[in-house]
């Protein structure tokens, strides 16, 4: 699991996609990944269409392809697994540069690879054009339970603070010569994790006091949402119809 999680993927630009309402972008993204996931792997042409469409959206978002490619490295472990498949899979084989590889295995590898890459590209575009708080609020508009949204919002707010506390603890330990190589030496690291939990929990209690002090009784105040223009929904519709249509055609033809 990469350590790059807190590095927000948001790219500050002024593009049409950036300006689009987050709930609309979420719906479009979901439509796209579902279509990609259900498309039969033999319909290679369909994946070509998807890739092209994603490229077009990337242009409209002013996101460079290199940016997406770098972020795609996150799916590298599964790419590696996919590359293994033709060698460990069963079924009839063909010879490729002197090695017997499974035909079905090659198809299986292709399936995993193309869907992982395209699906991740959609996610990367979404996060590159939408700020974190807006994504979470957008999920709330799409009827994800309010308590879920509130908890997630708090998590994002305090993530940097908690991570910083953790880093400071590690730095302090390293400064005193701590350089563990084996699991039997990890007591200090684990203890610092325990200490971090206690500190975080106590902060949570203080935050609760601050909330109660300002009249909180259990329900977060309702937020006002920006109205989504019909033109934005049109764009979403076009994208979804395009993707879903391609997927359905592929399903029927295969």
């Amino acid at each position: 699991m990469g350590a790059g999680h807190t590095h927000a993927l948001y790219v500050h630009e002024h593009s049409a996609v950036h300006r689009m309402a987050p709930p609309a972008k979420l719906v479009a993204a979901l439509g796209m990944v579902v279509s990609i996931a259900v498309t039969p792997r033999e319909a290679v042409w369909a994946f070509g269409i998807y890739a092209f469409a994603i490229g077009v959206i990337a242009v409209f978002s002013r996101i460079r392809l290199r940016f997406i490619a770098v972020r795609l490295l996150a799916v590298a472990p599964f790419v590696l697994f996919a590359l293994f498949i033709p060698f460990i899979a069963t079924g009839e084989t063909i010879e490729v540069i002197g090695i017997d590889v499974s035909v079905a295995g090659l198809w299986g590898a292709w399936n995993v690879l193309i869907k992982a890459v395209l699906g991740a590209s959609v996610s990367i575009l979404l996060t590159a054009t939408t700020e974190i708080a807006d994504i979470i609020r957008g999920l709330g508009v799409l009827r994800v339970p309010a308590i879920f949204i509130s908890i997630a919002t708090f998590m994002i707010r305090y993530l940097e603070l908690v991570s910083d506390e953790l880093s400071r603890m590690r730095i302090a330990m390293t400064a005193r010569g701590y350089d563990p190589k084996w699991i039997s030496q990890t007591r200090p690291i684990a203890s610092s994790a325990g200490a971090l939990f206690v500190r975080s929990y106590e902060r949570g209690e203080r935050i609760h006091s601050a909330m109660v002090s300002r009249g909180f009784t259990g329900e977060m105040p309702a937020l006002q949402h920006r109205i989504i223009a019909p033109s934005e929904w049109m764009a979403v519709l076009v994208v979804i119809v395009g993707f879903a249509g391609t997927a359905s055609t592929a399903l029927v033809l295969t």
């Binding site: 940097e160 601050a210 009249g215």
Partner: protein, 243 residues
């Protein structure tokens, strides 16, 4: 608008039995600014948390502006008493400062234009227009303190309670804070280790130690009393000879 604060014989013990307040008596008139001094562990923060019902006393009573601080009145008490916490991070929990400042009034049922007006007014008082739309973790220490103050000002309180407001501030930030506080009409209770700040802002100070008020006098008089200061583990800043 400002209100009086009456604290009579307040006692409080933590769940593990430790007695934090041993009979605190304190009367503060409307519009007064009183500094609360004393060593760590004296019960200053514990007392502050009683003023808006976060903690409930095991003995004694508290009244704010004539209203007893009991559960049935908590909603109004929490509008009247604005508590500014020691760590502004604990108080800035919304995705943006603007939403944080709006949190209090929203809980009071205020919305729409009225809410926006309240938020803008509070931000103006602390000079927060420049950082209002930023997420709180992108603010500097001084900006966070100002934002935290705005979050309680938007509820138009009658009493303000500050817990170590100047700690961690650079001289410029500290100066801004003193000027802001000096310009606010509400009754103010300022818990602080910053004795010069207490002298500058508060005509009157109380010293707390071991859960009770051990001295209550004009600030100048208290700070001149070397024996009293020493007995309560207080010390004037080096070179601060003339009070």
């Amino acid at each position: 608008m400002s209100a009086s604060v009456h604290i009579h014989g307040v006692e409080f013990a933590y769940p593990d039995g430790k007695k934090a307040l041993n009979g605190v008596d304190l009367e503060i008139g409307p519009g007064e600014r009183v500094a609360v001094l004393g060593p760590n562990g004296a019960g200053k923060t514990t007392l502050a948390l009683h003023l808006n019902g976060i903690l409930e006393p095991s003995g004694g009573s508290i009244t704010v502006g004539g209203l007893p601080v009991v559960e049935t009145n908590y909603a109004e008490i929490r509008r009247m008493v604005g508590l500014v916490f020691q760590d502004p991070n604990d108080q800035l929990f919304m995705p943006s400062v603007r939403e944080d400042v709006g949190f209090g009034p929203a809980n009071l049922g205020i919305s729409g234009e009225e809410l926006a007006k309240r938020v803008d007014t509070a931000l103006d008082i602390v000079g927060g227009g420049e950082f209002a739309d930023r997420p709180p973790h992108h603010l500097s220490g001084g900006e966070k303190r100002r934002a935290a103050l705005a979050t309680v000002l938007s509820m138009t309180p009658d009493v303000l309670v500050f817990d170590e407001p100047s700690s961690g501030l650079d001289p410029a930030g500290r100066r801004d804070l003193i000027e802001t506080l000096a310009g606010l009409p509400m009754t103010q209770l300022i818990i602080t280790h910053d004795l010069p700040l207490a002298l500058e802002l508060c005509d009157r100070s109380v010293i707390m130690n071991q859960g009770r008020v051990v001295a209550d006098d004009a600030t100048r008089g208290l700070l001149r009393n070397d024996d009293l200061l020493a007995a309560n583990s207080l010390e004037l800043p080096y070179g601060f000879d003339h009070v």
